[in-house]
C-alpha cells in the first residue's frame, strides 16, 4: 500500500490500470482529459491512442469487450450525446470483458455549453452508475465498476463532476491486477429485431440484481446523528462532502454513490424522519425519483423546491444554507473588479484568421459566421466578436449549409482541425452533395488545443479528406495565418465567398503553446545528446 497525491482524474486512471485495464478509448474533453493522459504516460502496455470522437471510442471499447478484455471509455458529459447510439445499444448487447463508461459532468459549465447530468443516461440505458464522493472512492470504484460490469455482463457508468476531476488529495493505492486473457465471445451481438427483443428482455430481467447491488453496496450507507429526526439528508457523490463540511456527524444521512437508487434505504430514511433534503450535484435526477418513490404526501426538498439553487454546481455555502445553518460574517464583494474572460493567446494563428475574416466579412453586411467548439470559439468575444453560433461539435458546417439553403449569403463556417475530424466531415459531404453555397474555414493548428494539446486525428490528412469528400481542387486552399500574409488570405476569402458552391480554406500554423512545448523538448533532447 502506498499513498499518492492524485487529481480525481488521475485516481480514476490509476484505479483502471490497477483493475487490469487493456484499453482506454477517449476523445479529449474538459474535465475528463487527464484520465487518458495519465494512462498514456504511466502504462505503455495499455492501448491508449486518442480516438476521432466519442462514438468511435465507445464502439472500439465494445469490440475489446467482445474479445474478453477490460475497456474504459472516457469523455466529458456532452460526449455521451455523441456516443449515445453505441452506448445505449451496448446495454442491449451486454458485455463480455468489463466496460466502464466514464462521463465527466460539468455543473456550472466551467468549460461546457450545458450542464446535462449523465446519471440520466445510465437510467435511460438501464445500467448501473457509480458516483465517487472523493479521490479515494474514485480509485477504489474502478475495480468495483469493472467487477460489477463483468458480474452483470453490462456496461457500468462512472459519473464524476469537475470539482472531483480537478481536485487533488492523497489516495491509498494497491497493486496492478493482470489483464484479462483474450476470450472472444461466442455469442452473436446481432441486434436484429428478433434478437434485440430477447436481449432487451434479458436486460429487464437483470434490473432486480442491479437494485440489489445498490441496496447492499459499500458505497451507499446510512449515518444516524440527529435525534430530533426532523430531516433526513440524501447526499449523492460530492454533495456528501458539503453536507459533512457543514454539519459534521450531527445529521441523518443516506450517502448515495451507486445507482439505480437503493429504494428500501430511501424508504427507511423517510420513515425515520419528517422530511427529506436531496443534495446532488447536477440536475435533480434523484430528487424527482425520490418524490416518486415516497409519494405526493411526503415532503422532499432540493433543487426543484428552491431549497438549493436550480442551476450551477453545489458548494459548501449553498448546502449550509439549505440546512439552515448560520452564515457569515463575510466581506462584501470588492468594488474595483472587472471580469477577465479567457482569450486567444497572443500570437495564435486563430487570431490572424479572425482578423482576415472580419476584414472581408465587413464588405458583406448580411454575412454570418457559424462557429464551432474549440479555442477559436473565443472569436465570439471581443475584440473579434465574429461568431453567430457555437452549438456542438461540427455544427458550424451544417448550420452554415442550412442557413445557405434558406438564402443567407455569405454563409461561412469556422471549425478547428480536431473538431472537423470529430464531427465536421460528414456535414461537409452533405454540403458537397448539395453544392451548397458555403465557405468553410478549417483553422488547423495541428493539435486539439483547448484541452491542452492532444494529438489531432486528421493531422496531415486534411487536403486529402476534403478532396475525397468531393471538394473541388480549385476551391481548396491552404494558407499560413500570419499578419504578413493578410493580402493573400483576404483575396482568397473574397474569391471563395463569391464562388457559388462549397469552398474550403485551411489556414495552417502550429498552436503556439504546443510549438513552445516542442521547442523545449527539442532543446532538452539536444542537451542530453551533447552529454
Amino acid at each position: 500500500m502506498e499513498k499518492r497525491l492524485l487529481l480525481g482524474d488521475e485516481a480514476i486512471a490509476l484505479g483502471a490500470i490497477h483493475a487490469g485495464l487493456s484499453g482506454v478509448y477517449a476523445y479529449p474533453g474538459t474535465p475528463s482529459t487527464e484520465i487518458t493522459e495519465f494512462i498514456q504516460s504511466n502504462a505503455k502496455e495499455i492501448r491508449s491512442r486518442w480516438c476521432t470522437n466519442e462514438k468511435t471510442a465507445m464502439e472500439a471499447a465494445l469490440g475489446m469487450s467482445f474479445a474478453g478484455k477490460r475497456a474504459l471509455v472516457c469523455m466529458k458529459h456532452v460526449g455521451m450525446n455523441v456516443c449515445a447510439d453505441a452506448f445505449v445499444n451496448s446495454a442491449i448487447t451486454g458485455v463480455n470483458g468489463g466496460i466502464v463508461v466514464l462521463a465527466a459532468d460539468d455543473p456550472s459549465m466551467h468549460s461546457s455549453q450545458n450542464e446535462q447530468d449523465s446519471r440520466f443516461y445510465a437510467k435511460f440505458a438501464m445500467v448501473p452508475a457509480l458516483e465517487p464522493s472523493n479521490q479515494q472512492e474514485a480509485y477504489d470504484m474502478m475495480a468495483s465498476a469493472f467487477n460489477l460490469s463483468e458480474a452483470l455482463r453490462e456496461p457500468v457508468v462512472l459519473r464524476i463532476v469537475t470539482r472531483l476531476a480537478h481536485s487533488r488529495a492523497a489516495v491509498t493505492v494497491g497493486n496492478q491486477k493482470p489483464q484479462n486473457p483474450l476470450n472472444v465471445s461466442n455469442e452473436r451481438w446481432v441486434l436484429l429485431p428478433g434478437i434485440a427483443r430477447k436481449r432487451y428482455a434479458d436486460l429487464i430481467s437483470k434490473q432486480p440484481a442491479m437494485l440489489e447491488a445498490s441496496e447492499t453496496s459499500i458505497y451507499n450507507k446510512t449515518e444516524h446523528g440527529d435525534e430530533s429526526k426532523k430531516l433526513g439528508i440524501i447526499a449523492c457523490g460530492i454533495g456528501y462532502n458539503y453536507v459533512k463540511e457543514a454539519i459534521g456527524d450531527k445529521a441523518n444521512i443516506l450517502k448515495i454513490s451507486q445507482y439505480p437508487l437503493p429504494v428500501e434505504a430511501i424508504k427507511k430514511l423517510a420513515s425515520e424522519n419528517e422530511a427529506i433534503l436531496v443534495v446532488e450535484d447536477g440536475q435533480p435526477v434523484v430528487e424527482e425519483q425520490v418524490a416518486g418513490i415516497l409519494g405526493a404526501g411526503y415532503p422532499v426538498k432540493g433543487r426543484l423546491t428552491g431549497d438549493l439553487p436550480r442551476q450551477g454546481e453545489l458548494n459548501p455555502d449553498s448546502v449550509a444554507k439549505a440546512l439552515g445553518l448560520p452564515y457569515g460574517p463575510v466581506f462584501e464583494p470588492a468594488k474595483n473588479l472587472a471580469g477577465r474572460p479567457p482569450q486567444l493567446c497572443q500570437g495564435c494563428g486563430h487570431r490572424d484568421v479572425y482578423t482576415a475574416l472580419n476584414q472581408v466579412a465587413a464588405e458583406y453586411p448580411d454575412h454570418r459566421i457559424f462557429g464551432d467548439i474549440g479555442c477559436y470559439t473565443l472569436g465570439a468575444l471581443p475584440p473579434f466578436q465574429a461568431l453567430a453560433s457555437c452549438v456542438d461539435m461540427g455544427a458550424s458546417i451544417t448550420m452554415a449549409k442550412g442557413a445557405a439553403d434558406a438564402g443567407l449569403f455569405p454563409s461561412i463556417a469556422v471549425i478547428g482541425d480536431s473538431t472537423f475530424t470529430h464531427s465536421g466531415m460528414t456535414g461537409l459531404l452533405d454540403a458537397v452533395n448539395d453544392k451548397s453555397n458555403i465557405t468553410v474555414i478549417i483553422s488547423d493548428n495541428l493539435t486539439t488545443g483547448m484541452t491542452g494539446g492532444q494529438d489531432s486525428a486528421g493531422t496531415s490528412k486534411y487536403e486529402a479528406i476534403c478532396l475525397g469528400l468531393g471538394v473541388e481542387p480549385e476551391h481548396l486552399h491552404v494558407v499560413v495565418p500570419l499578419p504578413k500574409n493578410m493580402p493573400e488570405i483576404t483575396r482568397i476569402l473574397r474569391e471563395e465567398i463569391e464562388y457559388n458552391g462549397v469552398s474550403v480554406i485551411i489556414p495552417r500554423r502550429e498552436c503556439i503553446q504546443t510549438a513552445a512545448r516542442h521547442a523545449r523538448e527539442r532543446r532538452i533532447k539536444n542537451e542530453e545528446e551533447k552529454k
Binding site: 499513498k3 497525491l5 487529481l7 474538459t30 474535465p31 482529459t33 487527464e34 466551467h110 468549460s111 470539482r163 472531483l164 480537478h166 481536485s167 487533488r168 488529495a169 492523497a170 460530492i238 462532502n241 458539503y242 459533512k244 463540511e245 458548494n315 459548501p316 455555502d317 449550509a320 452564515y327 457569515g328 460574517p329 463575510v330 466581506f331 462584501e332 464583494p333 470588492a334 468594488k335 474595483n336 473588479l337 472587472a338 471580469g339 477577465r340 474572460p341 479567457p342 482569450q343 486567444l344 493567446c345 479555442c375 473565443l378 471581443p382 483547448m450 484541452t451 491542452g452
Partner: protein, 191 residues
C-alpha cells in the same frame, strides 16, 4: 490546525506551480490536503484560482466556504479582490502590487490600490521587480510564495524550501538555486 488558502491570478502566471509546491510540502509533513484547480477554458488569459486546504484533521469539501479562507495569495492585485467574500474577517491578502492589464475595462489603479489598503490585513509587493533583482525574472511566483510563507503557518519556511528543491530538481541545480533565491527574497521582503 487548519489552513484554507486561495491561490489566484491570471492564466499563465504560475499559480499551479505554487500549489504544487505547497502540496508537496504538506504531503511530506503528513498533513491532510485538498486542492481544487481550474483547468481548461479559463486558463487562456482569464482569471484562475485554486482552493488549497491543509489540515491536521480530515477535510471534507474540496471548496473553501465563504468567509473561511485564512490567506488569499494572488499574482495580481485586482484578482486578489475577486475572492474577498471568501476571506475570513481575520484573514490576510498577500498579493503582487503590479496590475496585469489584458482587458479594456481594468479599474482605475489608484482606487484599486486604495480599496486594497483599506482592508485590515494586506501584504503587497512588486514581485516582478524583486524577481528581476534576484536574477530570476520568471520566479515572481516564488517571490510571492516567500511573502506568503509566514501566513501559511501550518508549514515552516524550511519545509517550503525543501519542497521547492524537490519540485524543481529535475530541471537542474541552477533552476533550484534561482527559485530558492527568489523565495528567500520574498521571505525577507515581508519581515
Amino acid at each position: 490546525m487548519k489552513k484554507d488558502i486561495i491561490l489566484c491570478g491570471v492564466g499563465g502566471q504560475g499559480i499551479l506551480s505554487i500549489a504544487t509546491i505547497i502540496g508537496e510540502a504538506a504531503t511530506k509533513a503528513g498533513l491532510y490536503l485538498k486542492q481544487a484547480e481550474v483547468h481548461g477554458m479559463s486558463q487562456r488569459g482569464g482569471d484562475v484560482q485554486s482552493n488549497l486546504r491543509l489540515s491536521t484533521d480530515p477535510i471534507w469539501s474540496d471548496l473553501i466556504p465563504e468567509g473561511k479562507a485564512d490567506v488569499v495569495i494572488s499574482m495580481e492585485p485586482m484578482e486578489s479582490l475577486r475572492y474577498l467574500p471568501y476571506l475570513a474577517k481575520t484573514g490576510t491578502i498577500v498579493t503582487s502590487s503590479k496590475p496585469f492589464i489584458n482587458i479594456p475595462n481594468y479599474p482605475d489603479e489608484s482606487t484599486l490600490q486604495a480599496e486594497l489598503d483599506n482592508l485590515p490585513s494586506v501584504v503587497k509587493l512588486d514581485i516582478d521587480s524583486v524577481a528581476k533583482d534576484a536574477g530570476n525574472p520568471r520566479g515572481a511566483n516564488m517571490v510571492l510564495l516567500g511573502m506568503a510563507a509566514p501566513y501559511i503557518e501550518i508549514l515552516t519556511v524550511e519545509q517550503l524550501r525543501k519542497a521547492i528543491s524537490v519540485i524543481f530538481a529535475r530541471k537542474g541545480e541552477a533552476i533550484v538555486e534561482s527559485n530558492l533565491k527568489a523565495f528567500d527574497m520574498g521571505v525577507e521582503a515581508t519581515k
